[in-house]
Symmetry: C2
Amino acid sequence: MNEYSFIFAPAMRIKDENKEKAIREKAMEMIVQEGFDGLSMQKLAQAAGVSPATIYIYFKNRADLLNQLFNEVEETFTKVTLADFSPEMSFKEGLWLQWKNRLKFIIDYPTHYRFHEQFRNSPLINHSDIKITPFKENMKAFVHNAVKRGEMQKVDPEIYWSIAFGTFYSLVRFHLHEKSMMNNDFKLTEHKMRLAFEMMLKAFKI
Amino acid sequence: MNEYSFIFAPAMRIKDENKEKAIREKAMEMIVQEGFDGLSMQKLAQAAGVSPATIYIYFKNRADLLNQLFNEVEETFTKVTLADFSPEMSFKEGLWLQWKNRLKFIIDYPTHYRFHEQFRNSPLINHSDIKITPFKENMKAFVHNAVKRGEMQKVDPEIYWSIAFGTFYSLVRFHLHEKSMMNNDFKLTEHKMRLAFEMMLKAFKI
DNA sequence: AATATAAATGAATATTCATTCATTTATAGA
DNA sequence: TCTATAAATGAATGAATATTCATTTATATT
């Protein structure tokens, strides 16, 4: 299949997109539920209703499968997180939108999020910085504007990030797994998130 | 070997404690470097300079090894973190000591810390709440006292935790791995930690 | 020195793994 | 309807896996 298909008119069986989708989804589910070593190609094939050999039509090998999944997740994450966002927004408004967008991603794609969490620092992933560049650009410009307008004090980016998002992600962890710590049933509602958000903001006051 | 050994005078070859220690250490290193599936019993045996069968003298099986390692780490963590700490301390002083103690743990036992990070939410671990109870008791009393003395506003424990420690652990992640985000060489010095700490504290002001 | 005990072992076992390959199957165009 | 093409497959391969077991080895006491 190439751009001259219509001229040379090849006749070929087309790929069944449902198969690839099933493989991707089941793979993520298995990894999230049983960890990376819980994913065997044969068990995955069975779960996806497919022959083991079929997986190798869509993915070069196990490592490639893993990397494709990871990249897919990062792409979706960036898209959801930057929705309606602009670096020109006021510090408070922009940061709150970030929190809301991120919560949306976690609620809408919980498996993706947990999968990403497992591999964010894994040596098994080829972290190709390129993909998250637009994201970083946006965040950098956003902070720059906020400082210029005197809406927040100037700090190391890591400190900014840790207060603004470290707090948020800790709440998310309570929401998602840490049932044993503290209370046993913490649900991160928008209301609770707002409470934490208002407190966190004070840290940046000049 | 039991408490009546001296009476019945058994004659037996004694365990070589260096062997167990080598197994434990190499196992953690291998897991941290290559992930849980990078740990095979035969490779571990080789790395520890021991026969595969020897591992099974000290550990019932692979899962047991993992659990023992995890428990060992949590024990050390609790000890280091609670050093010199008292729930009677002022909010500011107590929280700062927590940050310092935790940083000390991470600096002194980086492998332990990374190992713990990998398995904190893993289904492979039998999380036996019991172990961290003294720790939770201390923290609960500490917050209770601070609220009573009017040093901080009363908030959900998860929100308190997320601002106070979510911020800290995010800094630690930058320090330990996230070389690709932001600047490429963030070193968490006590000075930078103090800057972040002072900002974070403002969130709790009444 | 002899002995009883458990530590320590290397080789063996049975299973599971990722990947390949010779065939078969479905389908778009002739 | 026929044909060329690539999708899809089930079975096979060989390497690696966790665990076991029949022996051997070291040593504290007699």
